[in-house]
Symmetry: C2
Subunit: 318 residues, 2 copies
């Protein structure tokens, strides 16, 4: 696809993911109507689709590295990674629905719309999140029967990686630390210093971002050194993502962000600007992105969109 | 194991499952200390372990049918099904933690102890449930590398079956219908007649009970007709389980049940005794158990513990 730009790649990837999610999310009568409504309300809320984009970009980069001029191979890699991409967006969406709950971050606005619990009530919102997590694993395990025995093995590896990244050692553990740091965990407050803040974010958002690049690579047939390089790239990308998020919370406004700006400061949550100041936070994010570049170059993954995604991440305004 | 009784089988199965869960549940520093505490508090609360027992009994019955005198084959079937058994208990435990929340069933007592949200707060309880679901899928996907390519395929089949049973079409969907029926879903009340009640329970508890028997069979190498027979057996068992649960809520007392008796009537929840009366409810449960027997006999699964478990289910007092 000569002349393809990052913008075009992102648009195509998002469209593919949205169409696939639309087709795959269960409908009535298989699921109760209210559950179907709550799932779709949360999933189709106009998100950036960063995690599925990373999955597809990683699969694409691995295919390009193996055979630079073989467009068919890239298409096959995209196809193999598409369910993985969708599953990671479902996991991400479930985490947003639960994090927004009154007993967690108590957010009433997300991506410019009322959050799920405002629309459906807390009980149904909790269930919608629970259901999205299960649906993600259903999607990852689908259609195991194939002529290629390596595919079943790859799928199991992605399920393991995503379950670990989403679970108590990853995203769930990070959100629990965040709750403790915000003084919202009964009798168990926690003060985070710079290392603690980094470790919290590495679990809360970093683990799933790493799993996205890793699993995209696995589904495209990456060997261990390549998978490891994708992991290192995404670890830096995830950290930059979080720092930029904190910066936007200070500098952004609610119209651009689609959520309540200044919320972190109001809730006394630890943030990078609070610990390091705005300028040093921006420098830290830029350093992460430089390390993304170095990792991609060393691994021979410079072709494709992984580097452009890192630059886009650094410059994003929402 | 000549002379083994159901009591001994249940005790051995529960001990194996508890030891395996103790070894497999993640600990600090892999997970934050508070998360580890909340997971263990919920998992080791003295439950009946019905679902893991069913997994192991189904695997055992399939092995006995294939080779009645081959004890080694039974041991291998148990070993292959043990992670599946533990995973289903984790899924069940997560559902209890979430169902007990104030915005759901608002239960403060479970198995004779304060519920997780009472001890850890609502936010951490939600996260503990979320983490238990992820941990279940992690366990199901572990150690995919094996000399036998059929094992990876079997694991994927169990992940698919369990994700479907736990998700929006199964357990989550059933709990959402239950919330609607109890008038707890914002602006979306629902009245359940006898068919609606049965359909709600088929999702809420039936789907996971069926998945337990089915996945035990799959891991022991059952063919499609056997898997289908296990599914029919467990569907009847699950319905009987729910009817007996409703009866116990009327007849039982909090000391034996370990939870608040009379809660269903107080919350205006639809129940079998409310719809059919106590005597007819008991007759309905007994009919389900008779159909369990017939299914096992037809499929050649009469040896082992599946039938004794059905009888035990009918006679349980808690």
């Amino acid at each position: 696809m000569a002349g393809e730009t990052l913008g075009l790649f992102l648009e195509r990837a998002r469209t593919r993911v949205d169409h696939a999610l639309e087709a795959w999310l269960p409908r009535p009568p298989r699921v109760p109507p209210l559950v179907s409504e709550a799932l779709r309300y949360s999933v189709f809320a106009g998100g950036k689709r960063l995690r599925p984009v990373l999955v597809l970009a990683a699969a694409d980069a691995v295919a390009r590295r193996a055979a630079p001029d073989d467009e068919r191979r890239r298409v096959e890699a995209h196809d193999a990674a598409l369910p993985t991409a969708c599953a990671l967006e479902l996991i991400h969406t479930y985490s947003l629905v639960h994090d927004d709950l009154p007993v967690m971050d108590n957010d009433t606005l997300r991506r410019g719309r009322p959050t799920a619990h405002v629309v459906f009530g807390d009980g149904i919102a909790i269930l919608a999140g629970d259901g999205l997590q299960a649906a993600a694993f259903e999607l990852l395990a689908r259609e195991p029967a194939t002529a290629d025995p390596r595919v079943a093995e790859r799928k199991l590896r992605t399920i393991l990686a995503i379950a670990q990244a989403a679970g108590p050692a990853g995203m769930v553990g990070g959100q629990a630390l965040d709750l403790q740091a915000a003084g919202q965990a009964k009798d168990r407050p926690l003060t985070l210093d710079a290392d603690g803040l980094r470790a919290m974010h590495a679990r809360k958002t970093g683990a799933i971002i790493r799993a996205s690049a890793v699993c995209g690579g696995i589904m495209a047939g990456a060997d261990e050194p390549l998978v490891s390089a994708l992991d290192r790239y995404a670890a830096e990308l995830g950290l930059a993502f979080q720092i930029v998020d904190d910066i936007l919370d200070v500098e952004g406004d609610a119209t651009t962000l689609g959520k309540t700006a200044g919320k972190d400061a109001a809730g006394a949550k630890p943030t990078y600007p609070a610990l390091f100041g705005l300028e040093q936070s921006k420098a830290l994010a830029a350093e992460c992105i430089n390390r993304c570049r170095a990792t991609l170059d060393e691994a021979g993954l410079q072709d494709g969109w992984l580097w452009a995604i890192a630059e886009w991440m650094l410059g994003r305004r929402s």
